[in-house]
Point group: C2
Chain length 274, copies 2
């Protein structure tokens, strides 16, 4: 049986891949970064759903046993009634569950891209768990390009985070969902700005737990003898993507890099021996 | 005969459309914003060339008499030997010509996206005009998302511009090419940071002059009786695009908005009466 597929619009989902690798060190993973069309977070739900479907179909050609949608914006357009012929895991529900489990006061904040915030997908998932929860959202469109620029430790990034969190700080929340895979990269600054009493929820950890539960319950087969390969596909060519992905994946290393043309059937050179 | 086609990855090319409209008020323009795949400036030349070709082919279905590539990143992959069956104008050569005409000291700076800077396309165009010109480039990837966030007047944007221009300020240039259609939106801040002695070159004005020359020389037909329509197509659906595009186009107004699916033949509902 094939690897676990993971996809994101770009490099951010590598934080999810890393959490999965840490949880399932012997599993094979095939990562697809749709770098030719990134970012998803500023695009319409209709367009994002079209991209999601294409990515899942492409990964299925590698006999993936499951697909993890590491992108919050893409997960936000995923509905329970969609069937893809392979189990597809989004990051929203695990993130909402983790926030609900952690909150003491029932006051939860959500940071996300414009698409994720407008979809209200975290708010709906949280209200389903308990309609009395208080929620507040903030779109942070500049955090993605700042991380991709490699400015995560720059004072300008801190200033932008302070500006984005200004209103949220007044709302006395005790739990904050990092609703975009890029945000864990600036987790420490967000923690400092919000204060130590606010618990940050990283969807990367939440999704890894979700998969571990499904494996424990027998819904998903885990094949520890596979060998722990990490193969990365990207729809655009770019040394910068390799550089940032390798940096985020550290200390784990990536076994192979390949270009993916979503309009063509892949050559399936990976996993020939499985 | 059809309109003049103008395309950009997103909303930035509206600054070019506005300059064209001001120069040719009676001409019809059809603008295509490839918002489903923006930005181009972080993607590889190969991918950007594929997008460019698709956009030109799509616009040709509306019988455009010429296509203006309003995007610097897309213009940077355009070579003189490419033929598209319709005249295609890029912004690089007009920008380089304008800078060469304006410089007194022969020291020229270039601001652009990562793709444009890496391609060295402005440097090559300038050195072709005079190999002794001194050039210095700076990639400014954050300016596009800042403009698209509507933060052009925020002090954070000024800080980021100061940081980007730090090295260039030491180089004693007298002319600076704004090598991305988003940059004219923050022109005043760039002017303030560089000082009044530095002349800024806006490719929007330069390309309008280029077309006017070709019309004057009979290479391009200008039909003033057309009626001055401005129709806008976008590959993604988004109220935000409409909002920013209308703001940038002011005081001119846009006659129609439509979604474009590049995989399909357009319905050609525009210009039925021409």
């Amino acid at each position: 049986m094939g690897p676990i597929g993971v996809f994101d619009s770009g490099v951010g989902g590598i934080t999810v891949l890393k959490a999965l690798k840490a949880t399932f060190p012997q599993e094979n993973f095939l990562y697809l970064g749709d770098t030719a069309r990134l970012p998803y977070g500023t695009k319409s739900p209709k367009t994002v759903f079209r991209y999601l479907t294409q990515n899942v179909e492409y990964l299925k050609q590698y006999d993936v046993k499951a697909v993890v949608v590491a992108c919050n914006s893409a997960s936000s357009v995923l509905c329970p009634h969609h069937t893809f012929g392979v189990p597809v895991y989004g990051v929203i529900q695990p993130g909402a569950n983790a926030a609900f489990a952690k909150t003491r006061t029932g006051r939860i904040g959500i940071l996300g891209t414009r698409t994720t915030v407008q979809s209200q997908v975290y708010v709906k998932a949280l209200k389903n768990l308990d309609p009395d929860l208080f929620t507040i959202q903030q779109a942070c469109p500049l955090l993605v390009p700042l991380v991709e620029e490699g400015w995560e430790n720059d004072s300008i990034t801190t200033e932008i985070i302070v500006k984005y969190l200004e209103e949220m700080k007044q709302q006395n929340i005790d739990t904050l969902i990092l609703g975009c895979t890029h945000y864990p990269v600036v987790k420490e600054t967000i923690q400092k700005v919000m204060g130590e009493h606010v618990q940050l929820i990283d969807s990367a950890d939440a999704i890894a737990e979700d998969l571990a539960n499904d494996i424990a319950q027998g819904f998903l087969t885990f094949r520890p003898e596979h060998g722990g390969r990490i193969d990365v596909l990207a729809t655009d060519d770019g040394a910068f993507f390799h550089h940032i992905a390798s940096k985020l994946m550290n200390p784990f290393s990536i076994n192979s890099w390949e270009m993916a043309d979503l309009r063509q059937v892949p050559e399936k050179r990976l996993y020939e021996d499985i």
